[in-house]
Symmetry: C2
Subunit: 309 residues, 2 copies
């Protein structure tokens, strides 16, 4: 099986090494050195250039190397008519949940304030609530969102979820769609976004959302930068509607050095590290997918391009 | 029942209000306005002055307002011959565990580095391990230590404990005494101290301990400042033996503004906030203790002054 590997990160060589370790029979070509495009069976990609698929007339699968396919759908206007899969790695979901729990503890226990007090050598203690008294709202209830919900709930937080469609079996209250949003926001002190990026969810974290949350709330965005309207966040921090934010994703990555987000005292910027991929476990998921393709078995985690996830 | 309430923190009035809310029949006198000391049945105290107990010849119980009695035992050379109890509040143990989990996530996920990168607007991602690959060592396995162990283990970390006496029923490997210390330290990447402060444990976090840990390890001290030899910590950070520390307790509190700990880039100082008391739940524990005293029932959480906890 001939596979093209492309990633906008600096990790292509590491992916190839791990793929060949786990599946030595693969032929892995690093983009742009792909040889004859007509020979390619599978593309593994992350934020591909628009012409990546040119001439691949025998392509059978596009496997994205991350949880979201927005980078693919937006960068490549016309996609080959083959199945598209996203990467669903339980380890990545767990890592996302670690990030979200850390962010939640940070705000709940006021470690954001204690960090700020360091520079002034200021010894001041702040009272805090306990987890059952803190409404945490998770936007998105897919593979990642449900793991985030489970971990936060296990830790005792008063968790609810907001999503597009009802989840009757969810272990927490689920608020659905535009109709459910006001009640969801009203109970949320710490808002965590792990939504897929689609035309419906772009810019969802805006002034209207912040204004429906209790005064002094917090925002955690671990999904995509395009979910957030940055000027609205800055205003909400200015007025005290929001008291802090932890942001892992940005519309332009790397976040430019000139961005006001870097040095804002109430914002903690992390460099897209919430769900950093574990090459070993992620490769195992991909190799399983390739074996299924070889054997003609149903593929995993296929995406509906019209829906966007 | 006549109760004297004393605390070196700024919280005496809040304690009294909550005591009277939960037990309106109590007579609570705020130190130093204690009236006739011969009338006093119970002292509730935190880091008392040495003469607090003068003339209390009918005293029946000393109830300390925190988890450790070291402040009492060290500040008052001659104690009245009455039972001494420490405060064991499950909510406080849970809060300590939250602190320790936050510290563990901070180092495991390199949020310490990401905080430092903010000032330079530096976008750099760091690979990390997953919890089962990370040895976390908890020193102390009492009410707090066992809660810390449970929470970290539930989260998947490779946890072990070090303590003075064997705990055959513990759910993690337990290393015992001086003999068990080297093997415990050799497997520990993140060392968490929640020991009681006694003559045996004072200055236990010293050069010899750090040198037995893997290079690039981390220290979390949520016990007492006197457990740590600060110059040895600074040397270990200098040589790279330790890569970071999160410290909640100090030999002199508030930590003086002149302390080098405040501005050390690899140290996160928090103002004794790991197990901040929840007045409501802690008062419920104390009221239960006073009811037991009234009814002549066995008292809770008595301390052996010779052992120190």
């Amino acid at each position: 099986m001939k596979v093209v590997l492309q990633t906008s990160w600096n990790t292509a060589a590491a992916w190839r090494a791990e793929l060949l370790r786990q599946a030595p029979d693969l032929e892995v070509r690093l983009w742009p050195e792909i040889g004859d495009p007509a020979e390619i069976d599978v593309v593994l990609c992350w934020q591909p250039p628009p012409d990546l698929f040119a001439g691949m007339r025998n392509l059978r699968l596009i496997q994205v190397l991350g949880a979201g396919v927005d980078g693919l759908l937006r960068k490549v206007p016309v996609l080959p008519p083959v199945p598209i899969a996203r990467l669903v790695d339980p380890v990545m979901a767990q890592r996302m949940a670690e990030y979200c729990l850390y962010a939640t503890l940070r705000f709940h226990r006021r470690f954001d304030l204690y960090e700020r007090q360091l520079a002034q050598a200021r010894w001041e203690r702040h009272q805090h609530l306990d987890p059952p008294e803190i409404g945490v709202g998770v936007m998105g209830l897919g593979a990642i969102g449900s793991t985030v919900v489970r971990v936060l709930r296990q830790f005792g937080y008063n968790v609810a979820a907001w999503t597009r469609s009802p989840h009757p079996d969810a272990e927490v209250p689920v608020f659905v769609g535009g109709e459910g949003l006001p009640a969801f926001l009203a109970r949320t002190r710490i808002l965590i976004c792990v939504l897929p990026l689609t035309p419906e969810t772009a810019s969802i974290l805006d002034r209207r959302v912040f204004e429906q949350m209790p005064r002094g709330s917090y925002l955690v965005n671990a999904a995509r930068g395009e979910h957030l309207v940055v000027p609205h966040l800055l205003s909400a921090l200015e007025t005290g509607r929001l008291e802090g934010a932890m942001l892992d994703v940005f519309a332009h990555e790397p976040l430019p050095k000139s961005s006001p987000l870097w040095r804002h005292p109430k914002i903690f910027v992390t460099p897209h590290t919430a769900g950093i991929t574990n090459p070993r476990t992620a490769t195992a998921v991909i190799v399983e997918q390739l074996r299924r393709l070889e054997r003609g078995e149903p593929l995993l985690h296929l995406v509906d391009p019209a829906r966007g996830y």
